[in-house]
């Protein structure tokens, strides 16, 4: 359950502090690292507040907040996850985990967060400094980011959703990285080869210039990075791992553009899934890669 909770928390965070929808806005991993830090600090401060604050209003707001989060986690999402595991339906394991489903308690969350960060300080200037710093972070990553990126948003960049449903990502500049995508391996197979990922190259055969970064399920602890040898148009390209990944685990990957090569698109969308059943496969070797394209 702990692993599931970490994945759930990550996806909720992306769904609250990112935009998870039919299309979304790409944000760098550094943004979510800062958000992770803020959430950890918030939870610690909240816990300290629980021990100190005797206000009935505080406790009522806190009870409502914790109850609803707990209900959604245990009764809705974790229950669905266990059913999907039991029925061996991989795609449904992380279904319906959306940050907006927690928005009925967005009021308590906001008030508790503001209260937890500020009420420890009597000095007005410290409070103003906290508001300015965090306010700048939030404003920059909401309004300013959308304003800067909405044109590319029109042309099919998006935030990531578990297993790539309805995502289309374009990597055009050096350093562009696809949003972290969670994937899991079939439980009955032990991975000894690698994974195959679907990509489009607008008719080009691209050799090198891209790298696949694999992480643990938190999408921040690195596992390994593999340079991609060749990417062909509308085909799966092969990523051979140096170490064996274990089945039944959830991992995370990004695709990164490392040199000034042609553009690729990672069309992780429903149409590709419909045509190819998946957008990534765990495969044994290059021979089985050819089977995917037949």
């Amino acid at each position: 359950m702990w692993n599931y909770f970490l994945v759930w928390g990550w996806m909720i965070e992306k769904g609250v502090f990112g935009i998870v929808s039919h299309k979304g806005v790409v944000k760098g991993d550094w943004y979510f690292q800062v958000v992770n830090l803020l959430m950890i600090v918030f939870l610690v401060l909240l816990f300290c507040s629980i021990l100190k604050i005797k206000s009935s209003i505080f406790r009522i707001i806190l009870i409502i907040f914790i109850f609803y989060i707990g209900f959604v986690f245990f009764y809705v999402n974790y229950h669905s996850y266990l059913l999907a595991v039991k029925n061996n339906i991989e795609y449904e394991r992380y279904l319906a985990i959306q940050g907006r489903y927690l928005f009925p308690v967005i009021g308590p969350f906001t008030v508790l967060m503001a209260f937890s960060f500020l009420h420890w300080f009597r000095n007005i200037y410290i409070k103003i400094l906290i508001i300015l710093l965090m306010g700048f972070f939030f404003v920059y990553n909401d309004f300013v980011t959308i304003y800067k990126n909405y044109k590319s948003w029109v042309f099919d960049t998006s935030a990531s959703i578990m297993l790539g449903k309805d995502n289309v990502v374009v990597l055009s500049n050096i350093g562009d990285t696809s949003p972290a995508e969670l994937f899991s391996l079939k439980y009955e197979e032990e991975l000894i080869g690698g994974i195959a990922i679907y990509a489009s190259t607008y008719g080009k055969n691209i050799e090198g210039g891209y790298r696949v970064n694999v992480y643990w399920s938190n999408c921040s602890s690195p596992l390994e990075s593999v340079d991609i040898k060749q990417i062909s148009d509308n085909k799966f390209f092969y990523v051979k791992f140096n170490q064996t990944l274990e089945p039944r685990n959830v991992y995370c990957f990004t695709v990164e553009k490392t040199s000034d090569k042609d553009i690729i698109t990672l069309p992780f969308n429903a149409e590709v899934i419909r045509d190819h059943k998946k957008i990534i496969y765990n495969i044994l070797d290059l021979k089985s890669l050819k089977l995917l394209d037949e």
Binding site: K23, R100, V105, V111, H119, I146, Y150
Partner: protein, 236 residues
């Protein structure tokens, strides 16, 4: 930024617009008593699931009536922003209830107005906006009732809970919790000074709530029946 409107598409937009359109064509109906009164066009490609007549209707009913008056979906969509702004207002008021520190109030405003998914969501048609408003308002009035013991806050909290339940059944667990807290908070209070507008609006909501869910239960033996969707189509 104008183009942002066209590309900020949520996955279930077609459903919400479709149901709102049904209510736009029937502006005098609060909700459909009979499934075959809905009369969706036979070749309408949208899948109206959950059914229009048996699922919570309040949001689509309101949007449909506004759309009937304004004749423009874009102008009608501004209702989302109104719901969103009211949600922000109640969060501000909740912060004021919790503490007198004005910096906490300001900080709460800064946070909520810059949570990306929230600011994005209040710009598209979805019943989530009304549910979020109902939840935030009912929590605010609950807290206000506990603090000031004004029975009008109690009535307002109950009213907003009913609004939430008439909008989306997923509001149910939160509604139960709020009702439980209200019950214990109200227990033992003997003197009531209430405003008639609160009482009348609450009774209207209770009647509509009772009619809607009682009809579902007595006709279909469940609060949210899954009926044959073709009954709501007008296929001759």
């Amino acid at each position: 930024m104008n183009s942002l409107y066209n590309i900020a598409v949520q996955p279930d937009k077609d459903y919400h617009v479709g149901v709102a359109r049904v209510y736009k064509k029937n502006p005098w109906k609060i909700f459909f008593w009979k499934a075959n009164d809905v009369k969706i066009e036979c070749d309408d490609p949208v899948k109206y699931n959950p059914p229009v007549s048996t699922s919570p209707f309040l949001y689509h009913s309101i949007v449909g009536k506004i759309w009937f008056v304004t004749r423009s979906l874009r102008i009608t969509s501004l209702i989302q922003t109104i719901f969103g702004l009211l949600t922000v207002f109640y969060i501000f008021r909740l912060a004021q209830l919790l503490t007198d520190d004005k910096w906490v109030h300001i900080f709460a405003l800064v946070i909520i107005t810059n949570i990306p998914m929230f600011t994005y969501m209040i710009n598209y048609l979805s019943y989530d906006n009304l549910v979020n408003l109902a939840a935030t308002a009912s929590i605010y009035y609950l807290a206000s009732f506990i603090k000031f013991r004004n029975v009008n806050d109690f009535l307002s909290s109950v009213s907003f809970v009913l609004v939430g339940l008439l909008t989306k059944i997923a509001f149910g667990p939160l509604a139960v919790l709020i009702f439980v807290i209200l019950f214990f908070a109200f227990w033992g209070k003997k003197h009531y000074k209430f405003k008639w507008v609160n009482v009348v609006s609450l009774w209207v909501l209770i009647v509509i709530f009772g009619l809607f869910y009682a009809r579902n239960y007595f006709n279909y033996k469940t609060l949210l029946p899954k009926i044959n969707l073709s009954i709501e189509r007008d296929c001759k």
